[in-house]
Protein backbone atom coordinates (compact mmCIF):
# COMPACT_ATOMS: atom_id res chain seq x y z
CA UNK A 1 0.00 0.00 0.00
CA UNK A 2 1.21 3.45 -0.88
CA UNK A 3 1.28 5.67 2.19
CA UNK A 4 1.51 9.45 1.82
CA UNK A 5 1.61 12.23 4.39
CA UNK A 6 -0.72 15.15 3.69
CA UNK A 7 -1.73 18.31 5.54
CA UNK A 8 -5.15 19.94 5.67
CA UNK A 9 -5.84 21.58 2.34
CA UNK A 10 -3.51 19.30 0.44
CA UNK A 11 -4.69 16.66 -1.97
CA UNK A 12 -3.97 13.51 -3.91
CA UNK A 13 -4.70 12.79 -7.55
CA UNK A 14 -5.56 9.21 -8.53
CA UNK A 15 -5.60 8.44 -12.23
CA UNK A 16 -7.12 10.97 -14.60
CA UNK A 17 -10.29 11.85 -12.80
CA UNK A 18 -10.16 11.19 -9.05
CA UNK A 19 -9.12 13.91 -6.65
CA UNK A 20 -8.94 13.48 -2.88
CA UNK A 21 -8.62 16.55 -0.67
CA UNK A 22 -7.88 16.60 3.05
CA UNK A 23 -10.45 19.15 4.20
CA UNK A 24 -9.93 19.25 7.92
CA UNK A 25 -8.37 17.42 10.87
CA UNK A 26 -10.53 17.62 13.93
CA UNK A 27 -10.94 15.63 17.14
CA UNK A 28 -9.10 12.55 15.92
CA UNK A 29 -11.05 12.49 12.66
CA UNK A 30 -10.10 13.49 9.14
CA UNK A 31 -12.63 15.11 6.79
CA UNK A 32 -11.93 14.07 3.25
CA UNK A 33 -13.32 15.56 0.05
CA UNK A 34 -13.63 13.27 -2.94
CA UNK A 35 -14.05 14.38 -6.55
CA UNK A 36 -14.75 11.36 -8.71
CA UNK A 37 -16.83 10.57 -11.80
CA UNK A 38 -20.49 10.08 -10.93
CA UNK A 39 -20.55 6.45 -12.03
CA UNK A 40 -17.81 5.67 -9.51
CA UNK A 41 -19.16 4.29 -6.26
CA UNK A 42 -17.74 5.79 -3.08
CA UNK A 43 -18.62 4.21 0.27
CA UNK A 44 -17.35 4.24 3.81
CA UNK A 45 -15.53 0.97 4.37
CA UNK A 46 -17.57 -0.18 7.37
CA UNK A 47 -20.88 0.49 5.61
CA UNK A 48 -19.74 -1.48 2.58
CA UNK A 49 -18.44 -4.35 4.74
CA UNK A 50 -21.71 -4.54 6.67
CA UNK A 51 -23.74 -4.86 3.46
CA UNK A 52 -21.33 -7.47 2.12
CA UNK A 53 -21.67 -9.47 5.34
CA UNK A 54 -25.46 -9.16 5.30
CA UNK A 55 -25.61 -10.36 1.68
CA UNK A 56 -23.46 -13.32 2.60
CA UNK A 57 -25.78 -14.23 5.46
CA UNK A 58 -28.78 -13.78 3.18
CA UNK A 59 -27.57 -16.72 1.06
CA UNK A 60 -27.96 -19.08 4.05
CA UNK A 61 -31.55 -20.23 3.74
CA UNK A 62 -33.47 -23.25 2.63
CA UNK A 63 -36.60 -24.02 0.64
CA UNK A 64 -38.24 -25.30 3.82
CA UNK A 65 -37.70 -21.85 5.40
CA UNK A 66 -39.28 -20.18 2.42
CA UNK A 67 -42.38 -22.38 2.43
CA UNK A 68 -42.82 -22.01 6.17
CA UNK A 69 -42.36 -18.23 6.05
CA UNK A 70 -44.70 -17.86 3.10
CA UNK A 71 -47.43 -19.62 5.07
CA UNK A 72 -46.90 -17.35 8.07
CA UNK A 73 -46.70 -14.11 6.07
CA UNK A 74 -49.62 -14.99 3.84
CA UNK A 75 -51.78 -15.83 6.85
CA UNK A 76 -50.75 -12.50 8.39
CA UNK A 77 -51.82 -10.59 5.33
CA UNK A 78 -55.20 -12.25 5.08
CA UNK A 79 -56.15 -11.39 8.65
Amino acid sequence: MLVLTRKAGEGIIIGDDIKITIVELKGGGVRIGIDAPREMKVHRQEVFDKIKQENREATQWDIADLNELSNILDAGRKK
Binding site: R38, E39, K41, H43, R44, V47, F48, K50, I51, K52, Q53, E54, N55, R56, E57, A58, T59, Q60, W61, I63, D65, L66, N67, E68, L69, S70, N71, L73, D74, G76, R77, K79
Partner: protein, 141 residues
Protein backbone atom coordinates in the same frame (compact mmCIF):
# COMPACT_ATOMS: atom_id res chain seq x y z
CA UNK B 1 -33.68 -23.14 -26.19
CA UNK B 2 -34.06 -23.87 -22.48
CA UNK B 3 -31.02 -24.56 -20.33
CA UNK B 4 -30.56 -26.53 -17.14
CA UNK B 5 -28.36 -25.92 -14.10
CA UNK B 6 -27.83 -27.88 -10.92
CA UNK B 7 -28.37 -25.74 -7.83
CA UNK B 8 -28.24 -26.60 -4.15
CA UNK B 9 -32.03 -26.88 -4.38
CA UNK B 10 -31.92 -29.30 -7.30
CA UNK B 11 -32.21 -28.95 -11.02
CA UNK B 12 -33.49 -25.67 -12.42
CA UNK B 13 -34.63 -25.23 -16.01
CA UNK B 14 -34.51 -21.69 -17.36
CA UNK B 15 -34.74 -19.61 -20.51
CA UNK B 16 -31.33 -17.95 -21.13
CA UNK B 17 -33.07 -15.13 -23.02
CA UNK B 18 -35.12 -14.25 -19.97
CA UNK B 19 -32.72 -13.83 -17.07
CA UNK B 20 -32.34 -11.04 -14.56
CA UNK B 21 -29.10 -9.16 -15.07
CA UNK B 22 -27.04 -7.45 -12.43
CA UNK B 23 -24.45 -5.50 -14.47
CA UNK B 24 -22.41 -4.97 -11.28
CA UNK B 25 -23.42 -8.09 -9.35
CA UNK B 26 -24.50 -7.70 -5.73
CA UNK B 27 -22.28 -6.27 -2.98
CA UNK B 28 -19.69 -8.96 -2.21
CA UNK B 29 -20.88 -11.00 -5.20
CA UNK B 30 -19.67 -8.69 -7.95
CA UNK B 31 -18.90 -11.49 -10.40
CA UNK B 32 -22.43 -12.93 -10.35
CA UNK B 33 -24.21 -11.12 -13.15
CA UNK B 34 -27.05 -13.43 -14.21
CA UNK B 35 -29.91 -14.72 -12.10
CA UNK B 36 -33.07 -16.71 -12.64
CA UNK B 37 -36.20 -15.37 -11.00
CA UNK B 38 -37.82 -18.30 -9.25
CA UNK B 39 -41.53 -18.29 -8.58
CA UNK B 40 -42.36 -19.23 -5.04
CA UNK B 41 -44.29 -22.50 -4.70
CA UNK B 42 -46.41 -20.95 -1.98
CA UNK B 43 -48.40 -17.77 -2.21
CA UNK B 44 -47.07 -14.79 -0.38
CA UNK B 45 -44.72 -11.85 -0.69
CA UNK B 46 -41.47 -13.82 -0.95
CA UNK B 47 -39.71 -14.98 -4.09
CA UNK B 48 -36.13 -15.92 -4.85
CA UNK B 49 -33.41 -15.52 -7.40
CA UNK B 50 -30.86 -18.16 -8.30
CA UNK B 51 -27.40 -17.30 -9.59
CA UNK B 52 -26.61 -18.93 -12.93
CA UNK B 53 -22.85 -18.53 -12.43
CA UNK B 54 -22.73 -20.01 -8.91
CA UNK B 55 -25.20 -22.81 -8.10
CA UNK B 56 -24.62 -22.28 -4.35
CA UNK B 57 -25.88 -18.71 -4.37
CA UNK B 58 -29.54 -17.74 -4.18
CA UNK B 59 -31.29 -14.82 -2.49
CA UNK B 60 -34.77 -14.46 -1.05
CA UNK B 61 -36.34 -11.17 -2.09
CA UNK B 62 -39.49 -9.25 -1.32
CA UNK B 63 -41.25 -6.00 -2.09
CA UNK B 64 -40.42 -3.85 0.98
CA UNK B 65 -43.40 -1.58 0.38
CA UNK B 66 -45.63 -4.50 1.35
CA UNK B 67 -44.28 -3.99 4.88
CA UNK B 68 -43.03 -0.41 4.94
CA UNK B 69 -45.52 1.64 2.96
CA UNK B 70 -43.47 4.85 2.97
CA UNK B 71 -40.18 3.23 1.93
CA UNK B 72 -39.11 4.71 -1.36
CA UNK B 73 -35.85 4.64 -3.30
CA UNK B 74 -35.53 6.61 -6.52
CA UNK B 75 -32.63 5.91 -8.90
CA UNK B 76 -30.42 8.84 -9.81
CA UNK B 77 -29.20 9.56 -13.32
CA UNK B 78 -26.16 7.32 -13.18
CA UNK B 79 -28.20 4.43 -11.77
CA UNK B 80 -30.80 4.83 -14.53
CA UNK B 81 -27.99 4.70 -17.04
CA UNK B 82 -26.70 1.44 -15.57
CA UNK B 83 -30.24 0.05 -15.63
CA UNK B 84 -30.60 1.16 -19.24
CA UNK B 85 -33.74 3.20 -18.60
CA UNK B 86 -34.85 6.81 -19.02
CA UNK B 87 -36.67 9.10 -16.59
CA UNK B 88 -40.04 7.82 -17.82
CA UNK B 89 -39.35 4.12 -17.36
CA UNK B 90 -40.59 2.26 -14.35
CA UNK B 91 -38.12 1.29 -11.64
CA UNK B 92 -39.13 -0.95 -8.75
CA UNK B 93 -37.45 -1.47 -5.43
CA UNK B 94 -36.84 -4.94 -3.99
CA UNK B 95 -35.21 -5.95 -0.70
CA UNK B 96 -32.87 -8.81 0.12
CA UNK B 97 -34.35 -10.95 2.89
CA UNK B 98 -32.20 -12.61 5.55
CA UNK B 99 -33.62 -15.74 7.17
CA UNK B 100 -31.91 -16.35 10.53
CA UNK B 101 -32.21 -19.66 12.35
CA UNK B 102 -35.14 -18.45 14.44
CA UNK B 103 -36.89 -17.49 11.17
CA UNK B 104 -37.49 -13.93 12.36
CA UNK B 105 -36.67 -12.54 8.95
CA UNK B 106 -35.12 -9.15 8.32
CA UNK B 107 -35.08 -6.92 5.26
CA UNK B 108 -31.98 -5.13 4.06
CA UNK B 109 -33.42 -1.64 3.68
CA UNK B 110 -29.93 -0.06 3.70
CA UNK B 111 -28.95 -1.67 0.39
CA UNK B 112 -32.05 -2.02 -1.78
CA UNK B 113 -32.13 -3.55 -5.25
CA UNK B 114 -33.39 -1.29 -8.00
CA UNK B 115 -35.14 -3.28 -10.71
CA UNK B 116 -36.07 -2.05 -14.17
CA UNK B 117 -38.74 -4.35 -15.66
CA UNK B 118 -38.29 -2.96 -19.19
CA UNK B 119 -34.62 -3.99 -19.40
CA UNK B 120 -34.62 -6.84 -16.84
CA UNK B 121 -31.65 -5.22 -15.16
CA UNK B 122 -31.10 -4.78 -11.46
CA UNK B 123 -28.64 -2.90 -9.27
CA UNK B 124 -27.96 -3.16 -5.57
CA UNK B 125 -27.32 0.30 -4.20
CA UNK B 126 -25.90 1.23 -0.81
CA UNK B 127 -27.81 4.14 0.70
CA UNK B 128 -25.36 6.55 2.31
CA UNK B 129 -26.38 8.26 5.53
CA UNK B 130 -29.65 6.34 5.74
CA UNK B 131 -31.61 5.65 8.92
CA UNK B 132 -32.63 2.27 7.52
CA UNK B 133 -30.84 -0.79 8.83
CA UNK B 134 -29.48 -3.65 6.71
CA UNK B 135 -31.27 -5.84 9.24
CA UNK B 136 -34.72 -4.31 9.55
CA UNK B 137 -37.24 -6.63 11.23
CA UNK B 138 -40.76 -6.92 9.89
CA UNK B 139 -43.11 -4.40 11.45
CA UNK B 140 -45.07 -5.68 14.44
CA UNK B 141 -48.65 -6.32 13.43
Amino acid sequence: MMKTIQTRFGEVVYDPDNTLQFPEGLVGFESLRHFIVMPNEKEGPLFWIQSIEDPQIAFVLTDPTDFYFDYKVVPDGRERKKLGISEKDECLVVSVVTVPQDRNITLNLAAPILFAPSTNRALQVILEGTQFSPRTPLPKI
